[in-house]
Protein backbone atom coordinates (compact mmCIF):
# COMPACT_ATOMS: atom_id res chain seq x y z
CA UNK A 1 0.00 0.00 0.00
CA UNK A 2 1.32 3.39 -0.98
CA UNK A 3 1.45 5.30 2.35
CA UNK A 4 0.50 8.47 0.48
CA UNK A 5 -2.81 6.82 -0.48
CA UNK A 6 -3.98 5.60 2.93
CA UNK A 7 -7.63 6.57 3.34
CA UNK A 8 -8.13 7.33 -0.35
CA UNK A 9 -10.63 4.49 -0.80
CA UNK A 10 -12.87 6.14 1.81
CA UNK A 11 -13.34 9.17 -0.44
CA UNK A 12 -16.50 8.60 -2.50
CA UNK A 13 -16.75 9.03 -6.28
CA UNK A 14 -12.96 9.15 -6.75
CA UNK A 15 -10.86 6.73 -8.82
CA UNK A 16 -7.13 6.49 -8.20
CA UNK A 17 -5.10 6.29 -11.39
CA UNK A 18 -2.07 4.28 -10.29
CA UNK A 19 0.45 2.14 -12.17
CA UNK A 20 -1.65 -1.03 -12.03
CA UNK A 21 -4.72 0.77 -13.36
CA UNK A 22 -2.59 2.46 -15.98
CA UNK A 23 -1.12 -0.90 -17.02
CA UNK A 24 -4.54 -2.53 -17.39
CA UNK A 25 -5.92 0.38 -19.38
CA UNK A 26 -2.83 1.22 -21.43
CA UNK A 27 -4.36 0.36 -24.82
CA UNK A 28 -7.55 2.26 -24.02
CA UNK A 29 -5.67 5.33 -22.85
CA UNK A 30 -3.35 5.18 -25.87
CA UNK A 31 -6.41 5.18 -28.14
CA UNK A 32 -7.54 8.44 -26.48
CA UNK A 33 -4.01 9.89 -26.40
CA UNK A 34 -3.69 9.37 -30.16
CA UNK A 35 -6.40 12.02 -30.59
CA UNK A 36 -3.68 14.70 -30.29
CA UNK A 37 -2.77 13.91 -33.91
CA UNK A 38 -4.98 15.49 -36.58
CA UNK A 39 -4.60 12.54 -38.97
CA UNK A 40 -5.65 10.05 -36.25
CA UNK A 41 -8.72 12.17 -35.45
CA UNK A 42 -9.67 12.27 -39.13
CA UNK A 43 -9.25 8.52 -39.44
CA UNK A 44 -11.37 7.92 -36.34
CA UNK A 45 -14.16 10.19 -37.55
CA UNK A 46 -14.16 8.42 -40.92
CA UNK A 47 -14.05 4.89 -39.49
CA UNK A 48 -14.60 4.70 -35.72
CA UNK A 49 -15.11 0.92 -35.62
CA UNK A 50 -12.00 0.23 -37.68
CA UNK A 51 -9.79 2.50 -35.57
CA UNK A 52 -11.13 1.02 -32.32
CA UNK A 53 -10.41 -2.50 -33.56
CA UNK A 54 -6.97 -1.52 -34.79
CA UNK A 55 -6.33 -0.08 -31.29
CA UNK A 56 -6.96 -3.51 -29.76
CA UNK A 57 -9.98 -2.44 -27.73
CA UNK A 58 -12.32 -5.07 -26.32
CA UNK A 59 -16.11 -5.15 -26.67
CA UNK A 60 -16.81 -3.39 -23.37
CA UNK A 61 -14.35 -0.60 -24.15
CA UNK A 62 -15.83 -0.13 -27.62
CA UNK A 63 -19.37 0.02 -26.28
CA UNK A 64 -18.47 2.61 -23.61
CA UNK A 65 -16.78 4.69 -26.32
CA UNK A 66 -19.74 4.39 -28.74
CA UNK A 67 -22.12 5.57 -26.03
CA UNK A 68 -19.72 8.25 -24.66
CA UNK A 69 -20.13 6.73 -21.19
CA UNK A 70 -17.53 8.97 -19.53
CA UNK A 71 -18.06 7.63 -16.01
CA UNK A 72 -18.01 4.03 -17.25
CA UNK A 73 -14.72 4.71 -19.01
CA UNK A 74 -13.18 6.22 -15.86
CA UNK A 75 -14.34 3.17 -13.91
CA UNK A 76 -12.40 0.84 -16.21
CA UNK A 77 -9.26 2.93 -15.98
CA UNK A 78 -9.52 5.75 -18.52
CA UNK A 79 -7.48 8.73 -17.39
CA UNK A 80 -9.46 11.97 -17.49
CA UNK A 81 -6.70 13.93 -19.20
CA UNK A 82 -6.58 11.74 -22.28
CA UNK A 83 -10.35 11.26 -22.14
CA UNK A 84 -10.83 15.03 -22.54
CA UNK A 85 -8.88 14.86 -25.82
CA UNK A 86 -11.47 12.38 -27.08
CA UNK A 87 -14.27 14.66 -25.84
CA UNK A 88 -12.86 17.43 -28.10
CA UNK A 89 -13.16 15.09 -31.08
CA UNK A 90 -16.75 14.25 -30.11
CA UNK A 91 -17.45 18.01 -29.79
CA UNK A 92 -18.41 17.59 -26.15
CA UNK A 93 -17.19 20.25 -23.68
CA UNK A 94 -15.57 19.39 -20.35
CA UNK A 95 -18.57 20.97 -18.59
CA UNK A 96 -20.86 18.54 -20.40
CA UNK A 97 -18.60 15.65 -19.39
CA UNK A 98 -18.67 16.84 -15.76
CA UNK A 99 -22.48 16.88 -15.75
CA UNK A 100 -22.63 13.31 -17.04
CA UNK A 101 -20.03 12.12 -14.50
CA UNK A 102 -22.35 13.45 -11.78
CA UNK A 103 -25.39 11.79 -13.34
CA UNK A 104 -26.97 15.17 -14.08
CA UNK A 105 -28.26 16.93 -17.16
CA UNK A 106 -26.18 19.86 -18.34
CA UNK A 107 -28.82 22.30 -17.06
CA UNK A 108 -28.92 20.62 -13.65
CA UNK A 109 -25.15 20.81 -13.39
CA UNK A 110 -25.01 24.48 -14.40
CA UNK A 111 -27.58 25.28 -11.72
CA UNK A 112 -25.09 24.06 -9.10
CA UNK A 113 -22.35 26.45 -10.32
CA UNK A 114 -21.67 30.00 -9.12
CA UNK A 115 -21.12 31.58 -12.56
CA UNK A 116 -22.61 29.19 -15.13
CA UNK A 117 -21.80 31.63 -17.97
CA UNK A 118 -18.05 31.16 -17.49
CA UNK A 119 -17.77 28.46 -20.13
Amino acid sequence: MNPQLVGMSDIPGTYVFDIETSHKALRLNRFFWNMIAADWRARFVADPEGVMTESGLNDLEKELIRTCDWLGLVRIGANFFVLEKFARVMKVSNMQVYALMRGETFEEFLATRKVPDAR
Binding site: L5, S22, R113, K114
Partner: protein
Amino acid sequence: MAKIIGGIGTSHVPTIGVAYDKGRQNEPAWAPLFDGYKPVAAWLEAQKADVLVFFYNDHGTTFFFDMYPTFALGVGEHFPVADEGAGLQNLPPIRGDVKLQAHIAQSLVNDEFDLTVFQDKPIDHGVASPLPLLWPHQPDWPGTVVPIAINVLQYPLPTARRCYRLGQAVRRAIESYPEDLRVVVVGTGGLSHQIHGERTGFNNTEWDMKFLELLQNDPEQLTKMTHTDFVRLGGAESVEQIMWLAMRGALGGPIRKIHQNYYLATTTAMTVVLYEDGLESEVRV
Protein backbone atom coordinates in the same frame (compact mmCIF):
# COMPACT_ATOMS: atom_id res chain seq x y z
CA MET B 1 24.52 36.15 -11.02
CA ALA B 2 20.98 35.02 -11.75
CA LYS B 3 18.47 35.92 -9.07
CA ILE B 4 14.94 34.87 -8.11
CA ILE B 5 12.92 38.08 -7.81
CA GLY B 6 9.51 36.60 -7.06
CA GLY B 7 7.05 33.77 -7.30
CA ILE B 8 3.63 33.25 -8.84
CA GLY B 9 0.99 30.65 -8.12
CA THR B 10 -1.56 30.24 -10.89
CA SER B 11 -4.29 27.90 -12.08
CA HIS B 12 -3.81 26.34 -15.51
CA VAL B 13 -7.43 25.64 -16.44
CA PRO B 14 -7.70 24.91 -20.19
CA THR B 15 -10.91 26.95 -20.37
CA ILE B 16 -8.79 30.05 -19.71
CA GLY B 17 -7.01 29.41 -23.01
CA VAL B 18 -10.31 28.85 -24.84
CA ALA B 19 -11.87 32.04 -23.43
CA TYR B 20 -8.67 33.95 -24.27
CA ASP B 21 -8.65 32.65 -27.83
CA LYS B 22 -12.27 33.73 -28.25
CA GLY B 23 -11.49 37.23 -26.95
CA ARG B 24 -13.90 36.96 -24.01
CA GLN B 25 -11.69 38.85 -21.54
CA ASN B 26 -14.23 41.66 -21.00
CA GLU B 27 -17.38 39.57 -20.67
CA PRO B 28 -18.99 39.71 -17.19
CA ALA B 29 -18.39 36.00 -16.54
CA TRP B 30 -14.68 36.20 -17.47
CA ALA B 31 -13.53 39.71 -16.54
CA PRO B 32 -13.05 38.85 -12.84
CA LEU B 33 -10.54 36.22 -13.94
CA PHE B 34 -8.63 38.13 -16.60
CA ASP B 35 -8.60 41.40 -14.61
CA GLY B 36 -7.08 39.46 -11.72
CA TYR B 37 -3.97 38.77 -13.80
CA LYS B 38 -3.36 42.37 -14.88
CA PRO B 39 -1.44 43.43 -11.74
CA VAL B 40 0.78 40.35 -12.12
CA ALA B 41 1.48 41.09 -15.79
CA ALA B 42 2.24 44.73 -14.88
CA TRP B 43 4.61 43.60 -12.14
CA LEU B 44 6.47 41.25 -14.49
CA GLU B 45 6.90 44.06 -16.97
CA ALA B 46 8.02 46.58 -14.34
CA GLN B 47 10.44 44.09 -12.81
CA LYS B 48 11.85 43.21 -16.23
CA ALA B 49 11.67 39.47 -15.60
CA ASP B 50 13.90 37.61 -18.06
CA VAL B 51 12.93 34.05 -17.19
CA LEU B 52 9.89 32.18 -15.89
CA VAL B 53 10.63 28.79 -14.32
CA PHE B 54 7.38 26.84 -14.65
CA PHE B 55 6.61 23.96 -12.29
CA TYR B 56 3.77 22.50 -14.30
CA ASN B 57 2.27 19.19 -15.28
CA ASP B 58 1.84 17.59 -18.64
CA HIS B 59 -1.72 16.29 -19.14
CA GLY B 60 -0.92 13.07 -20.97
CA THR B 61 0.04 15.10 -24.03
CA THR B 62 3.80 15.39 -24.44
CA PHE B 63 4.24 12.24 -22.39
CA PHE B 64 2.07 9.14 -22.47
CA PHE B 65 1.80 6.53 -19.72
CA ASP B 66 4.14 4.16 -21.59
CA MET B 67 6.92 6.44 -20.31
CA TYR B 68 5.77 9.00 -17.81
CA PRO B 69 8.51 10.93 -16.01
CA THR B 70 8.24 11.95 -12.36
CA PHE B 71 10.28 15.09 -12.98
CA ALA B 72 11.28 16.29 -16.45
CA LEU B 73 13.05 19.45 -17.58
CA GLY B 74 12.62 20.85 -21.07
CA VAL B 75 15.66 21.99 -23.05
CA GLY B 76 15.25 23.95 -26.26
CA GLU B 77 15.16 27.34 -27.92
CA HIS B 78 11.52 26.83 -28.85
CA PHE B 79 8.65 24.63 -27.69
CA PRO B 80 5.53 24.56 -29.83
CA VAL B 81 2.20 24.81 -27.99
CA ALA B 82 0.63 21.34 -28.11
CA ASP B 83 -2.42 20.17 -30.01
CA GLU B 84 -4.60 18.54 -27.33
CA GLY B 85 -7.33 17.26 -29.57
CA ALA B 86 -8.88 20.53 -30.78
CA GLY B 87 -6.12 21.87 -33.00
CA LEU B 88 -3.45 24.39 -32.11
CA GLN B 89 -3.84 27.39 -29.83
CA ASN B 90 -2.97 30.63 -31.57
CA LEU B 91 0.26 31.33 -29.67
CA PRO B 92 3.87 31.64 -30.83
CA PRO B 93 6.23 28.87 -29.69
CA ILE B 94 7.38 29.20 -26.08
CA ARG B 95 10.98 30.46 -25.98
CA GLY B 96 13.80 28.78 -24.09
CA ASP B 97 17.39 29.50 -23.05
CA VAL B 98 19.38 26.32 -23.66
CA LYS B 99 22.44 27.39 -21.67
CA LEU B 100 20.34 28.16 -18.60
CA GLN B 101 18.20 25.02 -18.95
CA ALA B 102 21.31 22.85 -19.31
CA HIS B 103 22.85 24.49 -16.23
CA ILE B 104 19.72 23.84 -14.16
CA ALA B 105 19.61 20.20 -15.32
CA GLN B 106 23.25 19.72 -14.40
CA SER B 107 22.87 21.44 -11.05
CA LEU B 108 19.74 19.43 -10.15
CA VAL B 109 21.29 16.07 -11.05
CA ASN B 110 24.43 16.89 -9.06
CA ASP B 111 22.07 17.87 -6.24
CA GLU B 112 20.54 14.33 -6.44
CA PHE B 113 17.39 15.24 -8.37
CA ASP B 114 17.86 12.72 -11.18
CA LEU B 115 15.32 14.09 -13.60
CA THR B 116 14.49 13.38 -17.21
CA VAL B 117 15.53 15.87 -19.86
CA PHE B 118 13.19 16.33 -22.82
CA GLN B 119 13.88 18.14 -26.09
CA ASP B 120 12.01 19.02 -29.23
CA LYS B 121 8.55 18.39 -27.73
CA PRO B 122 5.38 20.46 -27.59
CA ILE B 123 4.11 21.80 -24.26
CA ASP B 124 0.42 21.70 -23.31
CA HIS B 125 -1.98 23.93 -21.38
CA GLY B 126 -0.07 23.29 -18.16
CA VAL B 127 2.09 26.22 -19.30
CA ALA B 128 0.21 27.58 -22.31
CA SER B 129 -3.02 28.44 -20.46
CA PRO B 130 -1.59 30.92 -17.90
CA LEU B 131 1.43 32.17 -19.91
CA PRO B 132 -0.43 34.68 -22.16
CA LEU B 133 -2.06 36.17 -19.06
CA LEU B 134 1.36 36.80 -17.55
CA TRP B 135 3.38 37.88 -20.58
CA PRO B 136 2.46 39.55 -23.87
CA HIS B 137 3.16 37.41 -26.93
CA GLN B 138 2.90 39.78 -29.86
CA PRO B 139 5.13 39.86 -31.78
CA ASP B 140 6.89 37.40 -29.45
CA TRP B 141 7.29 36.52 -25.76
CA PRO B 142 9.53 38.97 -23.86
CA GLY B 143 11.56 36.23 -22.14
CA THR B 144 12.31 32.56 -21.85
CA VAL B 145 10.72 29.68 -19.96
CA VAL B 146 12.31 26.81 -18.07
CA PRO B 147 9.65 24.09 -18.13
CA ILE B 148 9.85 21.60 -15.25
CA ALA B 149 7.14 18.95 -15.53
CA ILE B 150 5.97 17.11 -12.41
CA ASN B 151 3.93 13.91 -12.47
CA VAL B 152 0.60 14.64 -10.81
CA LEU B 153 -1.38 12.14 -12.95
CA GLN B 154 -0.15 8.61 -12.33
CA TYR B 155 0.38 7.44 -8.75
CA PRO B 156 2.90 7.20 -7.15
CA LEU B 157 3.30 10.96 -7.42
CA PRO B 158 6.28 12.68 -5.84
CA THR B 159 5.43 13.67 -2.27
CA ALA B 160 4.60 17.22 -1.27
CA ARG B 161 7.91 17.35 0.59
CA ARG B 162 9.85 16.17 -2.45
CA CYS B 163 8.33 18.93 -4.56
CA TYR B 164 9.25 21.50 -1.90
CA ARG B 165 12.82 20.21 -1.93
CA LEU B 166 12.90 20.31 -5.72
CA GLY B 167 12.08 24.00 -5.46
CA GLN B 168 14.92 24.50 -2.99
CA ALA B 169 17.30 22.76 -5.38
CA VAL B 170 16.09 24.93 -8.27
CA ARG B 171 16.91 28.01 -6.17
CA ARG B 172 20.47 26.71 -5.69
CA ALA B 173 20.69 26.05 -9.43
CA ILE B 174 19.58 29.55 -10.36
CA GLU B 175 21.75 31.28 -7.79
CA SER B 176 24.80 29.45 -9.18
CA TYR B 177 24.22 30.67 -12.74
CA PRO B 178 26.75 33.36 -13.70
CA GLU B 179 24.61 35.47 -16.03
CA ASP B 180 22.62 38.38 -14.53
CA LEU B 181 19.10 37.10 -15.14
CA ARG B 182 15.96 38.11 -13.30
CA VAL B 183 14.01 34.92 -12.65
CA VAL B 184 10.44 34.35 -11.46
CA VAL B 185 9.30 30.91 -10.32
CA VAL B 186 5.77 29.82 -11.18
CA GLY B 187 3.77 27.04 -9.53
CA THR B 188 0.71 25.99 -11.49
CA GLY B 189 -2.54 24.13 -10.90
CA GLY B 190 -5.44 24.17 -8.47
CA LEU B 191 -6.91 25.37 -6.40
CA SER B 192 -9.76 23.10 -5.27
CA HIS B 193 -11.41 21.06 -7.99
CA GLN B 194 -12.36 17.53 -8.97
CA ILE B 195 -13.11 16.65 -12.57
CA HIS B 196 -13.57 12.89 -12.62
CA GLY B 197 -15.94 10.42 -10.96
CA GLU B 198 -19.22 11.12 -9.19
CA ARG B 199 -17.44 13.62 -6.92
CA THR B 200 -16.81 15.90 -9.93
CA GLY B 201 -17.57 19.52 -9.09
CA PHE B 202 -16.22 19.36 -5.54
CA ASN B 203 -14.76 22.63 -4.20
CA ASN B 204 -13.65 23.88 -0.80
CA THR B 205 -13.01 27.61 -0.55
CA GLU B 206 -12.32 27.43 3.17
CA TRP B 207 -9.49 24.99 2.51
CA ASP B 208 -8.22 27.05 -0.43
CA MET B 209 -7.80 30.05 1.87
CA LYS B 210 -6.11 27.91 4.51
CA PHE B 211 -3.77 26.48 1.86
CA LEU B 212 -2.75 29.97 0.73
CA GLU B 213 -2.12 31.04 4.30
CA LEU B 214 0.01 27.99 5.05
CA LEU B 215 1.86 28.25 1.74
CA GLN B 216 2.97 31.74 2.63
CA ASN B 217 3.60 31.42 6.36
CA ASP B 218 4.13 27.75 7.22
CA PRO B 219 4.86 25.67 4.11
CA GLU B 220 6.46 22.93 6.24
CA GLN B 221 2.92 22.06 7.42
CA LEU B 222 1.86 21.44 3.83
CA THR B 223 4.89 19.22 3.16
CA LYS B 224 3.62 16.85 5.87
CA MET B 225 0.33 16.27 4.04
CA THR B 226 -0.26 13.07 2.08
CA HIS B 227 -1.79 12.98 -1.37
CA THR B 228 -4.95 11.62 0.25
CA ASP B 229 -5.10 14.71 2.47
CA PHE B 230 -4.98 16.97 -0.60
CA VAL B 231 -7.63 14.91 -2.42
CA ARG B 232 -9.96 14.86 0.58
CA LEU B 233 -9.67 18.58 1.27
CA GLY B 234 -9.52 20.02 -2.24
CA GLY B 235 -10.79 17.37 -4.66
CA ALA B 236 -8.88 14.73 -6.62
CA GLU B 237 -7.15 16.97 -9.14
CA SER B 238 -6.20 19.57 -6.53
CA VAL B 239 -3.35 17.24 -5.58
CA GLU B 240 -1.48 19.15 -8.30
CA GLN B 241 -1.04 21.94 -5.74
CA ILE B 242 2.13 20.10 -4.73
CA MET B 243 3.55 22.09 -7.68
CA TRP B 244 2.90 25.31 -5.73
CA LEU B 245 5.13 23.84 -3.03
CA ALA B 246 7.96 23.58 -5.56
CA MET B 247 7.50 27.30 -6.26
CA ARG B 248 7.43 28.02 -2.51
CA GLY B 249 10.60 25.99 -1.96
CA ALA B 250 12.37 28.07 -4.60
CA LEU B 251 11.41 31.28 -2.79
CA GLY B 252 13.23 30.34 0.39
CA GLY B 253 12.56 32.42 3.50
CA PRO B 254 9.74 34.78 4.43
CA ILE B 255 7.62 36.00 1.53
CA ARG B 256 5.09 38.79 1.21
CA LYS B 257 1.98 38.67 -0.89
CA ILE B 258 1.80 41.43 -3.50
CA HIS B 259 -1.45 40.39 -5.16
CA GLN B 260 -4.11 37.69 -5.00
CA ASN B 261 -7.17 36.94 -7.12
CA TYR B 262 -9.54 34.03 -6.41
CA TYR B 263 -12.41 33.28 -8.78
CA LEU B 264 -14.47 30.14 -8.42
CA ALA B 265 -16.87 30.32 -11.34
CA THR B 266 -17.68 26.76 -12.36
CA THR B 267 -15.50 23.81 -11.38
CA THR B 268 -12.00 25.07 -10.55
CA ALA B 269 -11.11 27.75 -8.03
CA MET B 270 -9.11 29.83 -10.50
CA THR B 271 -6.44 31.62 -8.54
CA VAL B 272 -3.39 33.77 -9.12
CA VAL B 273 -1.06 34.96 -6.35
CA LEU B 274 2.14 36.99 -6.60
CA TYR B 275 4.88 36.90 -3.96
CA GLU B 276 8.19 38.62 -3.33
CA ASP B 277 10.91 37.74 -0.84
CA GLY B 278 10.55 39.59 2.45
CA LEU B 279 8.22 40.12 5.39
CA GLU B 280 4.62 41.29 5.04
CA SER B 281 5.49 44.36 7.14
CA GLU B 282 7.86 45.48 4.40
CA VAL B 283 5.18 45.70 1.73
CA ARG B 284 5.82 48.80 -0.32
CA VAL B 285 2.90 51.10 -1.09
